[in-house]
Amino acid sequence: MTLNIDEEQDVSVTKGMIRAEFNFWVGIVMDKFYDGLQEKKFIGTKCSKCGKVFLPPRNRCGDCFAKAEDFIDLPETGILKNFTVTTYKISERKTRNVKKDQIVGLVQIDGADSAMVVPVININPEDLKIGMKLKVVWAKNIKGDPNDIAGFEPIGGV
């Protein structure tokens, strides 16, 4: 007998479901960043060689391969470097169309040389402009993790 693969034939699927809980040790530098969020503050790091300021912080500069362990307090304001608008929500399990615009921005905090991927809120997508000034909006319940950043909104309205 030869095996015939018929396009119409229904081949069984087994679910093979697993659930695994992972923990991630955020590291010394990110722990300090999380502590800063708890106090509604941004704490970045500075490269000891080129002076670049990273936010979120890292303990090294990939380019100089030098330590970036000097902490630096950064303001709550920054500029919009790039953005996109999507109605899709992708979680660790599935992709859903939530039919509601979500604005994703690359926001560079004043004084930082890197930008963070964060939500942009309290603005209509058509009013977004690259280079516009934004300010952080903190979450109602501060927990000391990245979701303390509810998003960034335009300074002084649009």
Binding site: N82, T86, K94, L106
Partner: protein
Amino acid sequence: MDKVAIVGFYQVKPGLDIMMSPYEMLFEATRGALDHAGLKRDDLSTVIGCNNDYYDGKTISNCFKVEAGGAYMKDESKVEMDGAHAMMYGLMRVLSGNHKLAMVYGISMPSCFPYESARILETDPTFDRPINILNGYTAGGMQMRAYLNAFGISEEDIAKVAAYNLKNAAKNPLALPEAQKTNISVDEVLNSELLSAPLRKLMYPVLCDGVTAVILAPERQARKITDKPVWITGVGHFNDTYYLGDRDLSSCSSMEKAAEKAYKIAGINDPKSEINVAELFGHTACEDLILAEAAGLADKGKGLSLINTGKLNPSGGTMAGYTPAANGLTRIVEAVKQIRGEAEGHQISGANKAIASGQVGFCAQNNIVYVLEGGE
């Protein structure tokens, strides 16, 4: 670099939901590649696979692929990036002088797992993942905006690239049937659903199941196996930072460096005139242009001109079917077919020097480029 050739290859025709198990599909590809080269499994000395634990839903995803991959009681290893990276591992094994014949394959079955969710697990678990708005759609949207803004390109221009790819796919017998769109118009692309503005659905490839396999041999063996060896004359591989906020998304530095290195090894001074075919693994129609420009095939912001020459992705590229882990190898096989004059339906006449690329990471963080040549 010593001469190493691609002497055999096989691509399983991709499908949205192939009714084979991954192991049945893999066997079709490896058996097919051996038959194509006129070789026996005994001739193989090493097997390198590209597959992914998360995509396969099992750890050590290669352990169950030993027999189907042709690796039973052989030297075998795995690369968990793109098939093009697995080929570099195979190439190194052959160049070491210890292996006479290497089988390289890439496989995944996205009909069985949520691919876009798997990309969420690519994100930084200490910042991007808890915020959970960085994913394949939003990264592609921001990259496209960066490219449009940097060079004054219109959304319509990107739609032209998407339509060009989908029309090319229609001429490629091994394209995903659902991606073969002979009569697609630019308006149709521009009116397709927004995935993440300005990126639209028809500018984004369709995920499908597939496997591609190639066989590598050093010069002496290659000449015995085939009268049409395709030589790997250059390879370059570079990695950029993970952080999108550190990069200029309108271009691709790691691709620039990878291509520069590959050209240097291959002795190519002017890629614009010397390369007749480029099969590039772009994640979106826009990224195809960014990568082509980074590879020096067009000036920055001028990549659109390549669709008039036809030398960019004559197969349709990944828009002809996106098979994670196999994408780069499929690009390589398409370039090899062009050089052998066997690209049925989409042959570029006189193709003798090609580049093919693979990648991993958001906005093509990591790129690998091969220069492939025919002749002596």
